[in-house]
């Protein structure tokens, strides 16, 4: 008995030491999949705004051939932006297009979503160098010298959504849903003496080039509505694999979705849920509340739970992060968001055991640092003149006054 008590005490000491040690060093938060969100403009009639001030994630309308992508066949010169194994003009274009098609198949290869292989229309080619722009056409560009590039930026995706229906971009069709993606363009930095990209076939002989396929799969994730994930194994992790390397597994005919992490798959199922899915219907939900309710911030009013905790679900058998979310809020029509400590990680595979933990953000992290996951949750009369007070909210400061401890035995 005495020995057991001593062991328990030892556990407590170790936990305290490690918590203190990690606390000193400012161990940061790890957020999983996230989506760019938009609060509908409820100043407009409910017929166009939906009438609810609850945030809506950016998303595509899903139907066969709904997502069309064109790509610019201008690949630059001296050096070309995309290095290929096949050096013939036609062969080069075919090799690039094959990677584009295969990268789309990576996302449509995930089970339990409405995103199916037929959701992307067959890719089309355009000879225009500057095909990317807010024109309502989804494009992928390789030699467009966009003013947004700076050193350190390899590629980016610009996504446009609207906060009411009926709005259109360029020649695109008007939005029929709030948050619908109206234009998503992928820009690869034009090749230069420092940065080039290589197809999987050319990568082994191009050790200084970045893996084109890895970057394109990541950027296509943005075009589908994803923001970045801090889960290392996720495809939506923001940093590129080192030149000459790729991370994860290459897609194959048997496993088209192989390069994705579990966090990416869970996110895709959450964003494009399939009502007929019977395998990924698990959900972990709850509220994170402080032991002492008086420790909650007095301002803004109405905060009843811990806001800004990262809640992570880890598969007990594999140790993989299956899903993670930034917890602390909920929303029911007509809104606004309530900061009640609620979290939910949905679309988890059933028949598995999970470990779940909540983890604080560090104490000097601005809410803007966890954008867009939190910064786009609220609108109010200060941010938007004439916003109805009853549907207004103010994002509270991220609550960090708690620590994470693994319970013994987990």
């Amino acid at each position: 008995m005495a020995k057991r008590r001593m062991l328990l005490m030892l556990h407590k000491i170790i936990a305290t030491l490690l918590t203190g040690f990690y606390g000193m060093c400012g161990i940061p938060g790890a957020s999983g999949y996230a989506f760019d969100q938009i609060v509908p403009d409820v100043r407009q009639p409910a017929g166009v705004s939906g009438g609810s001030a609850c945030p809506v994630p950016s998303h595509h309308l899903i139907s066969p051939g709904a997502i069309a992508e064109q790509w610019s066949t201008v690949l630059g010169t001296s050096p070309v932006t995309i290095l290929t194994l096949d050096q013939t003009p036609a062969g080069r274009l075919n090799e690039v297009e094959q990677v584009i098609t295969q990268s789309m198949a990576v996302w449509t290869g995930v089970s339990g979503t409405t995103l199916l292989p037929g959701t992307f229309a067959p890719v089309t080619r355009t000879p225009a160098q500057n095909a990317c722009g807010s024109d309502g056409v989804n494009s992928i560009c390789f030699d467009q010298a966009d003013g947004a590039f700076s050193p350190g930026i390899l590629a980016f995706t610009r996504v446009i959504t609207a906060d009411i229906i009926g709005v259109q971009v360029g020649t695109g069709a008007p939005a029929t849903q709030v948050g619908q993606i109206l234009d998503a363009d992928v820009y690869f930095g034009p090749g230069n003496s420092v940065i080039t990209f290589a197809t999987p076939a050319a990568l082994p002989s191009s050790p200084k080039a970045y893996d084109f396929e890895s970057l394109l799969i990541h950027e296509l994730g943005h075009t589908l509505g994803f923001s970045h994930s801090a889960v290392l194994a996720a495809m939506m992790y923001p940093f590129a694999p080192a030149p000459g390397t790729f991370s994860g597994t290459r897609p194959s005919a048997q496993q088209p979705g192989a390069p994705l992490g579990d966090d990416d798959r869970t996110g895709l199922r959450a964003l494009y849920p399939d009502a007929a899915d019977t395998l990924n219907i698990g959900s972990l939900a709850g509220r994170i509340l402080p032991a002492n309710p008086l420790s909650l911030p007095a301002s803004p009013p109405g905060v009843t739970g811990i806001f800004g905790a990262h809640v992570v679900a880890v598969d007990a058998a594999s140790g993989a992060v299956i899903g993670a979310t930034l917890g602390g809020w909920s929303c029911a029509a007509p809104g606004p968001a309530q900061f009640d400590g609620t979290y939910e990680i949905s679309h988890l595979p059933v028949g598995h055991n999970y470990h779940i933990y909540a983890e604080p953000l560090d104490n000097t992290v601005y809410p803007s640092l966890v954008t867009p996951a939190t910064a786009s949750l609220c609108r109010n009369p200060t941010t938007d003149a004439g916003w109805p007070p009853l549907q207004a909210c103010v994002i509270p400061a991220v609550n960090t006054s708690f620590t994470t401890r693994w319970r013994p035995g987990t």
């Binding site: 040690f21 940061p28 980016f156 446009i160 970045h228 801090a230 993670a324 000097t364 966890v370």
Partner: protein, 188 residues
């Protein structure tokens, strides 16, 4: 468990923790820029205060222009007021978004590594990587600096631990020391 075994166990845990912290984050959109790279590649470096932002259509895209008052110049000749242009923003009912492009609030103070092509407005070098926000620690009153890209922590499921790269929670004085060292290296 003997005293010796317990002590060894605690040391192993402590060293394992240290090792985890020392592992640098592996680098999809971004290539990793060290402070030295930022110092070398930047056109100017300064501590600035955000005065306000405005989003508008320019050359077929939504851009956000942010006006800053320059408080301290660390590199480059900068006027008292500078204007930054960054992709994305809200105009009318449209919302244009690019991950890792920083956004600023009026009154906020930051160290920025600025970069510009000739004849073009300044932008932030490496976006989130060239943005170092200043926050006052509520307990100590000390001003601390955190790099935007350092907010992305990495959870390693194998070790059930966190690791990260970048600058985080560094007192301003220490940050400036590191910055000056990086700038001196650039001049050598």
């Amino acid at each position: 468990m003997s005293y010796k075994q317990r002590r060894r166990f605690l040391w192993i845990l402590f060293l394992a923790g240290l090792a985890l912290l020392a592992i640098a984050a592996s680098a999809t959109t971004l290539s990793r820029l060290k402070l030295e790279d930022l110092a070398q590649e930047s056109t100017a470096v300064a501590r600035v205060r955000c005065l306000g932002t405005m989003s508008q259509w320019q050359r077929g895209e939504i851009w956000t222009e942010t006006k800053f008052e320059v408080l301290e110049r660390e590199k480059g000749a900068l006027p008292g007021i500078i204007m930054l242009r960054l992709l994305g923003g809200n105009v009318g009912h449209l919302h244009s978004h690019v991950d890792e492009v920083p956004s600023f609030r009026a009154g906020e103070e930051v160290y920025l590594f600025l970069w510009a092509r000739e004849g073009e407005p300044y932008q932030v070098l490496g976006w989130s990587q060239g943005t170092f926000r200043i926050a006052r620690n509520p307990q100590s009153g000390l001003e601390m600096v955190t790099q935007d890209s350092a907010s992305a922590a990495i959870f390693d499921p194998q070790t059930r631990a966190f690791r990260r790269g970048g600058i985080r929670n560094l007192p301003v004085a220490i940050f400036k020391e590191k910055l000056h060292k990086a700038l001196r290296q650039e001049n050598q």
